[in-house]
């Protein structure tokens, strides 16, 4: 629907604005990514609360990860995660082959160095969601070829 356009535009504007401000000031690149990630964290916390108001209690970690891959991702990005892998020891890899925030940017290796900026917010979003469901986590992202990302 039209809402996702608004969110996509706002997100790209946020990334651009924060980096522009950093260039003019004395901050380095790392700070911007942290700021974006912490914004994502706050939003993720709030969003997961609204989302899971009426759903049943989760059985275990894997259940929570499946919820994130299916329902959460569908609501936020209008599609499910394409692939979920785990080593059953606390590491999960979520793979999205057509990540919405990157589809508009390129379809291959062009602009690869700019991709991480656009993933910081989403990493924060996942971390915030998990934290409010009771899981402490570290979320990282990697992009080898747009628009797929892990």
């Amino acid at each position: 629907m039209a809402d996702e356009t608004l969110f996509l535009l706002l997100h790209s504007e946020m990334v651009a604005g924060l980096y522009r401000a950093a260039e003019q000031g004395e901050g380095e690149n790392g700070r911007c990514t942290t700021k974006l990630e912490s914004m994502g964290f706050r939003v993720g916390q709030g969003l997961i609360e609204r989302f899971t108001k009426d759903t049943a209690r989760f059985k275990d970690e894997l259940d929570i990860m499946k919820f994130i891959c299916k329902d959460f991702w569908t609501t936020v990005f209008k599609k499910q995660i394409d692939n979920l892998r785990t080593n059953h020891q606390g590491i999960y890899v979520l793979q999205d082959n057509k990540f919405r925030l990157l589809t508009q940017m390129s379809a291959g290796k062009q602009y690869l160095e700019h991709a991480p900026k656009y993933l910081a917010f989403t990493c924060g979003l996942i971390r915030g969601g998990l934290s409010n469901l009771g899981i402490k986590s570290i979320v990282t992202a990697e992009v080898s070829s747009m628009p797929a990302c892990k």
């Binding site: 809402d3 996702e4 706002l10 924060l18 569908t74």
Partner: protein
């Protein structure tokens, strides 16, 4: 569809909440970065402008509206079609000048402030929704209508409703084209 219609509406609501929450986090971050309210307002306006110049393409593609023939038609279009499409609310339009180029959009329900109860005491002159002004200004400029958009009343500051004022700045050559 595998999802029931009730669930679909809920998902719709949640993606709107995502936008509102993200906007809130953005304003909070800007307040941390900038000390003065005017700087935050200016930053929000600038960001809104950049969003507006891109949003207009999406709007025209989705709504396929015909060319507006007058300023009041444009204002109606913004209120009834654009606001409804993107924010789900329909502000009422009123023309507030004899020359016909000043309009106000009156919103009794502003979805952007759904989760905001009140502005913090030290931020009393913050225009929380200044992004909206920038978006409208940017979008209008891309269809060759220069305008000034400001907040005339703001519910967060204690007024009864939220009112956005749009003043179209008339260009002399525009009028010649319109007559033809």
């Amino acid at each position: 569809m595998s999802q029931s219609p009730g669930r679909k509406q809920e998902n719709h609501k949640i993606s709107r909440e995502l936008f509102v929450l993200t906007y809130g986090a953005l304003v909070a971050q800007l307040c941390k970065d900038y000390e003065k309210d005017e700087d935050v307002n200016a930053c929000l306006d600038r960001m809104g402008y950049s969003i507006g110049i891109r949003l207009i393409d999406d709007f025209l593609a989705r709504s396929a509206v015909k060319k507006c023939r007058s300023y009041s038609e444009t204002a109606d279009m913004i209120a009834q079609v654009a606001f409804k499409m993107y924010l789900g609310v329909t502000p009422s339009v009123s023309c507030s000048s004899a020359t016909g180029n000043e309009f106000s959009l009156i919103l009794d329900k502003n979805p952007l402030v759904d989760f905001v109860e009140e502005l913090p005491a030290e931020r009393s002159s913050l225009c929380y929704c200044n992004l909206l002004c920038g978006v409208i200004r940017g979008a209008l400029e891309m269809v060759h209508l220069a305008a000034e958009v400001t907040f005339l009343q703001d519910r967060l500051k204690g007024d009864a409703v939220t009112e956005i004022g749009i003043t179209f700045l008339r260009k002399p050559e525009d009028r010649k084209h319109r007559r033809n």
